[in-house]
Structure formats: C-alpha cells, structure tokens
C-alpha cells in the first residue's frame, strides 16, 4: 500500500497535476509518524511512509494548505473524508485547490494497545490476513489486528469515502451495525452521581496540553475562545479542579453538530481520556431528537441545530430534564 501511494504521489507531482502532497513523514521510530507536506519528489520517495500507525486525520491541515497557491493532494482514509466534507461545508477548505486521494483502510493500530500487551521496541509492522506481524528488537510478534486497533477503528462507523477525486484500493460501505454508542448508553444508564464520578476520574487526569483541541478538525476557529483574552477564560486561574474539567465540556459543545466522530481527540490524548464519548453523546442525542444526522456526509448539510428551516417542526419532540438529581 505504501508504495502504491508513493508512486501515485510521485506521478501526480511530476505530471504537474499537483504542486504539493499532504501525507505522512517517517519519524525516528516506525510508530512515530508526522503529517507533513511534500513538495520535492525526492523527499517524498525517501521519507513518505504509510503503515498501520498512520492514524492521523490530514483534513485539518488543508485549512492552511488549501489557502496557499497551487494545488495540494491529500490522502484521506474513509473517516477522514467526513472531516474534509465538514470543513468544506464550513468554507474552511478551498476545494478547488485540493486533489483528494481516497485510500482504503481496515483500521489503524494504537501503539499503546501494543505496549499494553508487552510489545516494545517496535521496528516494523505489516498486516497479514487479519493479524499483525510486528518486528521488534526482541523478535517478531503476532497479534490479532482487531485487538490492537484504536477504539475508533474497532467501532468503525464507515468504510465509505464520502468524497474523493481518485481512489486507491476499494471503496467500502457505511457500517450500520457498529457499536460506537454502547459506552454512551452505559454512561446514560448510570446515576448522575456515578456519571459525575466517572467523568471526574477521567477528566481529572487532563494536563491541559491542548492536543485534543489542536488536532480536532472541528476545532478550527481563527481565534480559539481559550486563546482569546476577551473571552474572560484565558489563563484564568481555576477556582477548583472541576473548573479545569469544564474545558472539555465547553469544547464538546463547540463541536456539537460538527464533530464527525473521527476520534482524533482520544488518539492524541497523552492521558488516554476517552474524549470521544462526550462527542458521541451529542451525536446520539442528535440522532434521537432530530433523526439520523452524520456530520460531513455531504457538503452543505447543516447540523439540525444550526439550520433555520420552515419545512419541519423546529422543536424537538423530546424534552428531558438532565440527570436524576
């Protein structure tokens, strides 16, 4: 797959279809991969990498890249295409400057899941018939792929590319029977106190590194409220640790209706906080209150709460008081 992508990229660069290509650059370690823009074919040939660790969603980088002169190609996995469409809907990506290469994807590996199984010193990875062969400095290991995939891949919502200019590999289907809301349901069934304890337990680990915000394709404000002195919350000393936790709740509200559930927030969290659950709660609520809605499914579709329409009854049919307090 890596070579296929690389050769196609080189071809496009050389024949002048594109000026730049957004992909993944190899790092010091095989799992240490950085999204980057390649303009030099030689650089691309030497440093481009695509493997089971290339989880990063490249859509967000297009906000800056597509605003520049010339055309940029980008490799997008099925789930990334939803983010791409959502950003197009929000007029953040100059579509005419982008050449989308959709790539087939079965799932991406969480390096933490490997480490939890005691696999360390990783030097290579390849997939073979549903299992992963991992080269380490201690020898080769084999693990069932499903067990070490990231949570978002185990509960993959769609293998279908909602947008592409060309496709490498096959296009899949939307996964109708995915279990991504199971944990949300469990949380809903908890008492308010239990839920509060759960989230306190998770969110208290937050070190406010801002990685979740910085990676999130929906968090693309010109000026983030948390960076804005006028907002009144910038560098504000927290009165208690709960106030600090509010960061994530505010962020979830900000991306509600625009979050495509790409799962990047949880992927990058150094404290392994399941941040995607906050977003999924909103997605589930939207589905239940307004009918099924998938952000980024197509360009131009507005979230049910960000759309003024006279066609349907504007008021949700269900109004529930939160919690059982």
């Amino acid at each position: 797959m890596q070579n296929e992508l690389k050769w196609r990229g080189l071809e496009l660069l050389k024949n002048g279809t594109i000026d730049r290509i957004l992909g993944w650059r190899a790092g010091q370690f095989v799992y240490d991969i950085t999204p980057d823009v390649f303009t030099d074919p030689e650089d691309l040939e030497k440093n481009f990498v695509y493997n089971e660790f290339c989880g990063a969603n490249l859509s967000k980088y297009l906000i800056a890249e597509s605003a520049k002169e010339g055309k940029v190609a980008v490799f997008l996995k099925p789930c990334d295409t939803y983010s791409f469409n959502q950003l197009c809907t929000e007029h953040r990506i100059h579509r005419e400057n982008v050449y989308v290469i959709g790539i087939e994807c079965y799932g991406k590996v969480s390096v933490d899941a490997l480490r939890q199984r005691g696999i360390d010193g990783i030097t290579g990875i390849r997939s073979e018939m549903g299992s992963l062969k991992i080269d380490t400095i201690y020898g080769e290991e084999s693990v069932p792929a499903m067990e070490v995939y990231a949570e978002r891949c185990r509960n993959c919502k769609s293998k279908k590319h909602v947008v592409f200019d060309e496709l490498i590999g096959a296009d899949g289907e939307v996964v109708d029977d995915c279990d991504r809301f199971d944990m949300v349901e469990k949380l809903e069934q908890m008492s308010a106190q239990e839920r509060f304890e759960f989230w306190r337990g998770e969110l208290s680990r937050c070190i406010r590194c801002n990685a979740c915000r910085n990676v999130c394709p929906a968090c693309s404000c010109e000026k983030c409220v948390f960076d804005n002195p006028k907002s009144g919350v910038l560098n504000k000393a927290a009165a208690d640790s709960f106030e600090e936790n509010m960061f994530h709740i505010i962020r979830a509200y900000h991306v509600a209706g625009r979050c495509t559930d790409c799962g990047e927030c949880s992927r990058v969290c150094p404290e392994h906080i399941p941040l995607h659950l906050l977003n999924r709660k909103f997605i589930k609520d939207y589905n239940e209150l307004y009918g099924d809605f998938v952000a980024g499914e197509s360009v131009g579709q507005m979230s049910p709460v960000a759309d003024f329409t006279t066609d349907r009854d504007a008021e949700p049919s269900v109004v529930q008081k939160g919690g059982d307090q």
Binding site: R92, K223, S231, V255
Partner: protein, 666 residues
C-alpha cells in the same frame, strides 16, 4: 468607571408587600459602581420619573437600574425618561422584581434576597452597557391581508378607506369566506349573503384593493415595514382579465361529478365552475382534478363556447413577489372532521349532517333550493336532533382527547337559529337540542335563545347523545336527560352535529413563515391577551377574525376594524425607528463557517471576502460574516450558534449576559 443609580419601585404593595424595598436600595449602595439608590412608591409615575431624572442630573449618572415590573411594561417609559435628561436610553436596565420575584414568592426574606440578586445582575450588566443608537428604516405603504372572508374583507376595506393600497390573498376562487355560505345570521335573522355580498362587491370595486384569488402565500421575508412576500397564483386555466363571468362554460362542461365545496359537497358542480352567483371576482376556474381536457386530453367544450377566449389549458402556477409594510392574518376557521365521532354515525347515514351542511340545506341557493329535505330520500324531516359541543369543551382527563378543550362560542347561538328557522318553515317539526350548557352572552343573545324555547317550543335537553343508529330509514337516537336523570330514545329523521371550530389548516405553515406564535390549538397568539389583542408578537403582523380564536360575526368585524387601525397607524409612518440591539460580527474572529447565515430567520447575514493584514505583514483573504442591521431583529440565534464567538448582540452582548450570570451566582 460608570456611575450607576439604582431605583427600587414599590409598585404600591405589589412589590413592597413581599420585597423589603428599603433593604434592596440599601444593598444597592454597597455594589461597586453604584453611587446613588432610592426607593419610591411608583417609579413609573411622573414623580418617580422625576426622581430618576433629578438623580441623573445631580449625580452625573452614566447608567440607571430600575428595579420594578417586567421590562415589557415600563422599559420604554424609563428609557424615555433617562433620554429626556441626556442619557442614552440603552444605558438603562430594568430588574424585574415584580413578575419574577414579588408575585411568585410569599416569604419576604426569600423574595428580598432574590430581588437583591436581580438588582446586582442588572447593575453588572449596565456596567458593561454601551450607548446605542437606533437606525431608521422606510415603510412600504402597502398592506397584505391573508384570507378574504368577512374578517379579511373588513380589514382590507378599512385600510383601503384610509388611503393605503391593500392586497387580499384568498386561497379559494372567490372571496366571501364562510359567511357567504351561511343562511341567516343570529340574533337578527337577517340573510347572511344579503349583507356579505355587498361587502364583497365593495372590496372588488375598491380602487385601493387588489384581490389575488385562488392564490397562496408561499414565502415571507423581511420585517416590519419591509416584508417581501411571494404569492403563488394557482393556475385557474381561465384568464381573469378576459373572463366576463357569463357562465356559458359552466353550462356546457360535461364533467359534472366534482363535489360542490360551496354546498359542503351535498351536490355536485361542473369541472369549470363559478362557486356561486355573487362570487368576486366573478371568474370561472377549472378544477384540474375533474377537467376532462386536463386529465384525458380530449374535450375542450368550454374553450369552444367561451366567446371571450379566456380558457387557457396551458396555464401554469405563477409566482409573484410583492413588498408590504404590514401583514394581517385573517385565515379563518374550519369545522373539525366529525367522522371520528363514530357514535353519531356521521359516516353511516347521509341524514347525519354538520351544522354547516344544515346551513346549506336551509339556504335558497343551496342544493335543495331552500326546501329542507333530508339527504337520504329527499323527504321533509319531522324530528330533528341537534347535538351540541361535538368536539368542543373536551377534557383530556381519562385518555386521549379527540376534540378541542375550548368552547367554539358560536354553536349555541346558531343552533337556536337553526331550530327557530326550521320551526318557522315547518311548524310541525319536533326539535331536540342536547347541550352541556347554553352559552348566550351577547347583545340580544339570551332573548334569542329563550324565544326558541318559550315561543317555538324547541326541546332543550341538558344531556348527551350516547349513540345514533341508522335503522329502517330512521335514526335511533339514544340519549340521557341529566336533569330528569332518565334515558331517552328518539326516532329522528335527521341529526345535526355542531362540530367544534378549529383554525384553518393553512394557519400553522403561515405562522412559521411569519415567525408569529401560535397556541397549542393553532390559534394565533396575541402580543398581549388584553392590551394588544389584534397584534401578533411579531412586529408588523396583525390578527383578524377566527384565526385568533372563535368569535361571531360582529366580534370578527370589530376585530377586523381594530387590526386595520393598527395597520393604518403603522403605514402612516414614513420611517420606523429600528432596534439598535442587532448582531454584529468580529471579523477577526469569524471563521466564515456560515452557521449564523443558516440559522438567521430573517436573512440578515451575508458573507464577504475581505483582505486582512496579518501581524507578519502578509495579507490574508478571508470569508467573513456581515450583518445587515436594517434586517436583523436581534433574536440572537447567530450569537449562540457561532462556534468561535465572533457574533455578538448589541445590548445583549455575551459579556453582558455572562456578567449578569456571574452576579447571580455570586
């Protein structure tokens, strides 16, 4: 630093009995920024306003908080007062310590604590307030009346007589509405069409009134003084300008199976039709569902006979856009579908009819030429049972409600009328009226009803009809007499159901287009139930007739005139002072995501590409939101939708609201 004055109103004992107003004034003096506070019996009085004015002058106040009733009551009063002494009117805030405090609490300590919190919130807000100046918008001097029944006609006539252009949009091929279908009117028993048709003619001939019959409103944009309305002119396949209304086509038309709406479907009409003799405009309309030419492609009889050449089978729906300054909803009513009331056998026997059908059976222009004949066999009925409140005054205790909770108001009176008219023409008829209560408030109403009972010998029975069974050409009516506490069995020839009145089905989508509010029964709500009964809470939208609630003809006409006077008051102005509390976007923060544009109900937001000079001296072109302040109504939908916080509302800025919340949570 602001210098704020706080003025606490007693409102007689309305506030002072539950809130320690002195303590509130005392507490105000301790709030940072407050330099003066006072309490007074009636702040809204001349003397109270004087107190505020003097304090502004004496202490150089830059902001004023009045703790009193709801701002809906006296905000305008106090704004004018502060403006009179040179303070910007938007530097005033009202803390509602009456409706939201003293009226809802009993305990003085609690109420006082809450009043202090509300005062503190208002002070926190006014501290951040900035002077605002309202813009002016011109007024389009043309009114739109939606619905051409008696309500719409009267409103249109009154507005037109004042010299303003009025358009009536009527869904049916003719104006006249339900009143044109009625036989006689209570309590005078004068002929309904004799009094409504001259009105129709007057409307039709008025040089200031234009009728769009067979038309519908499909889109409304804009705001008070400047509405832009799209009207769909349904294809009637007859050129209105050419048709002379001679009726030759209706005689020639071979398709004669279309139910006649004017006679409540009791007889049939031709596919090309003029609803009734006095229709205005007197123009034929082709019913595309029944026209042989339009359905099968062959026929053309009407086109051949028409000397004016008015028939056009190729006609299409047309859409026109017109500008209006004011809109009046006069969409009227319908009778509910009584068929779900299976116990009355409406669907089982043609002799069970609704009151409106009975009205047509009595009418000289009706299907029987005014001779009361029962629909099944064309014989004169000898025993008639009237059932009141079919679907009216229902309660939802004990399961699902089939009908309406309200009283339809006109049924008691028209049933007395039906009973008397029937007795007049056929004195040997036995008439029973089953009722819950007989409601006859109104001039000469009770006398009218008593005449039915005392003079005409109509049997009024307090009780309910349990079941109607068609059997052997009769209607077996099983009923209970609640006063005598006995079961009754009546062999009736006809049963007449006084079905509940409900708003016309077109009202709900219209309300959405108008952003006007409705109650749960789909009646339009008034801006104030007592003091602004003909205005909708949406500026520039007025209410006339049954669309606001059940009422009889004189009430409808009175309300129609009242709505017209409100419209005239609006159109008489050359300019409207706008609302300065409009949204604006911080272009440096705007992402250009378009969410505000899509949530804006008024179409006030557009996007522009702008060049930004960045800190590193490069130029960046960005797509940013622009608000048209003349169109913005200050609803604030954009400010809460904006993910980046770029949108803000003058007078209700995010910072001001947060300051209020912070003050309340302190």
């Amino acid at each position: 630093m602001q210098k704020i004055g706080v003025f606490v109103c007693w409102c007689g004992s309305n506030i002072a009995a539950t809130v320690d107003v002195k303590a509130v004034a005392e507490a105000a003096r301790k709030v940072p920024g407050v330099v003066f506070s006072a309490d007074y019996q009636y702040m809204c009085s001349e003397a109270g306003q004087g107190l505020i004015k003097d304090a502004i002058k004496e202490h150089g106040l830059t902001g004023v908080v009045v703790c009193s009733c709801s701002p809906r009551m006296h905000e305008a009063t106090f704004r004018k007062a502060v403006q009179a002494v040179g303070l910007n009117p938007y530097m005033l805030e009202v803390a509602n310590i009456r409706e939201q405090c003293s009226w809802v609490h009993k305990d003085m300590a609690t109420a006082t604590e809450k009043a202090i919190a509300l005062m503190q919130a208002a002070v926190a807000k006014v501290t951040l307030n900035t002077p605002l100046t309202a813009g002016m918008t011109p007024v389009t001097k043309r009114a739109l009346v939606i619905g051409g029944g008696i309500a719409g006609m009267q409103t249109a006539l009154d507005i037109a007589d004042a010299g303003y252009e009025v358009d009536i949009v009527e869904a049916k091929p003719t104006i006249g509405g339900k009143m044109a279908q009625l036989d006689k009117t209570f309590p005078t028993l004068d002929c309904s069409s004799c009094i409504v048709t001259p009105k129709m003619v007057e409307v039709g001939q008025h040089e200031k009134i234009h009728i769009y019959s067979y038309s519908e409103v499909t889109q409304i944009k804009g705001f008070v003084g400047n509405f832009n309305v799209t009207i769909k002119r349904k294809a009637r396949y007859v050129d209105e300008a050419k048709c002379t209304g001679c009726g030759a086509c209706t005689e020639k038309c071979p398709s004669r199976k279309a139910p006649n709406e004017f006679n409540m479907g009791l007889n049939n009409r031709t596919a090309v039709y003029i609803p009734f003799a006095q229709a205005v405009p007197k123009v034929a309309t082709i019913d595309p569902e029944y026209c042989i030419k339009l359905t099968k492609g062959k026929c053309g009889a009407c086109a051949k006979i028409c000397e004016a050449g008015a028939i056009n089978y190729e006609a299409k729906d047309e859409y026109i856009e017109v500008e209006y300054g004011a809109i009046v909803a006069a969409t009227g009513f319908e009778m509910i579908d009584v068929s779900p009331y299976d116990e009355y056998a409406y669907t089982q026997s043609p002799d069970v009819v609704t009151s409106l059908e009975y009205e047509r059976l009595m009418n000289a222009a009706g299907p029987t030429g005014g001779h009361l004949l029962r629909p099944s066999d064309g014989k004169e009925p000898k025993t008639i049972v009237f059932v009141q409140c079919v679907g009216s005054r229902e309660s939802c205790s004990g399961g699902e409600m089939r009908g309406k909770p309200y009283c339809s108001k006109v049924c008691c009176m028209y049933t007395a009328k039906h009973a008397m008219l029937t007795k007049d023409h056929y004195p040997d008829t036995d008439i029973y009226v089953f009722y819950i209560d007989v409601r006859t408030p109104g001039k000469n109403f009770d006398e009218f009803y008593r005449r039915a009972v005392e003079q005409y010998g109509v049997h009024y029975i307090k009780g309910a009809v349990g079941k109607v069974t068609p059997e052997g050409g009769k209607l077996k009516v099983q009923a209970s007499d609640l006063i005598l506490n006995e079961q009754l069995h009546i062999d009736a020839d006809m049963v007449v159901l006084a079905g509940a009145i409900e708003p016309n089905k077109s009202a709900r989508p219209l309300a959405t287009m108008l952003t006007a509010s409705m109650d749960t029964n789909d009646f339009f709500t008034e801006a104030h139930p007592k003091l602004r009964p003909v205005e909708s809470p949406t500026a520039g939208v007025f209410l006339s007739g049954m669309c606001q609630g059940p009422k009889d003809i004189p009430e409808t006409v009175a309300q129609a005139g009242a709505a017209a006077s409100k419209v005239i008051g609006l159109l008489a102005k050359d300019h409207l002072v706008g609302n300065p509390c409009v949204a604006h976007s911080d272009e440096w923060m705007c992402n250009g995501c378009s969410q505000c544009e899509t949530v804006c109900p008024y179409g006030a937001i557009t996007y522009e590409e702008k060049e930004f000079r960045m800190p590193d001296r490069t130029t960046k072109v960005r797509r940013v939101a622009q608000v048209n302040p003349a169109v913005c109504q200050g609803c604030g939908a954009c400010t809460v939708t904006c993910p980046s916080g770029a949108m803000d509302l003058n007078g209700f800025s995010n910072a001001e609201i947060m300051a209020e919340v912070d003050a309340l949570c302190r």
